[in-house]
Symmetry: C2
Subunit: 131 residues, 2 copies
């Protein structure tokens, strides 16, 4: 299961808070029964374009990951919760919506890890599915 | 743009090669004009279930990331190339298909970073879109 969340909030301070995002990544996996296999990696990005500034965070869980990228100038955050085990995607959405005080958001659940036979033979690159 | 690739190959040795995955993550961003903002993080996972064993790798690029998780026992790999800048998703698919010698794969391109006005107001958790 791969849950992707894209959301906007009105509290841009949260989006600039490295410690908050570190703690979130550190504590969240156990809430949904996932096993962390690393510490969180969190860094602040300040490139040439201010609209790209923000915090990026990542943690490995058993053979998958959770990532968070904030864009503070626009109060935009994207979150990926990617696990090879099932979890409650609606509850996860609600959790991150509340934590980042999101006022608008979109959440999608992507199926990964297909059975071999469900996939196209790749003599050529298969046609790209746009989602 | 968020390209997701799920694929199966017949060369499980590649899927167990930490150095190969480190080099891939280290060298790939510059091929598509992305700026690395960290070194690659790569680790080997050997949990209780052998079908979950594999290599997980990750690199931060400017406000986004590339991740790779292999499951060597099943010769399965999933790859995410997530960038706030455009890149050629078909070329990227071909690149990873060749590198991992994938014989079956599925590739999808997910739109992220919506405009605020395109998103539902989140008084409640919006209905989950299954993809």
């Amino acid at each position: 299961m791969h849950l992707i969340i894209d959301g906007y909030g009105s509290n841009s301070e949260i989006m600039q808070d490295e410690d908050f995002i570190y703690q979130l990544l550190d504590s969240y996996p156990s809430r949904i029964g996932m096993a962390k296999i690393s510490a969180p990696f969190v860094l602040r990005y300040t490139g040439s374009k201010i609209e790209e500034w923000g915090i990026s965070g990542f943690i490995f869980i058993a053979e998958s990951h959770i990532s968070i990228h904030t864009f503070a100038e626009r109060s935009y955050v994207n979150i990926d919760v990617f696990s090879c085990r099932d979890f409650d995607a609606e509850q996860a959405t609600k959790y991150f919506k509340d934590k980042f005080q999101l006022t608008r958001l979109k959440n999608r659940l992507i199926t990964r890890d297909w059975k071999t036979t469900d996939l196209a033979e790749a003599n050529e690159v298969p046609q790209l599915h746009l989602v």
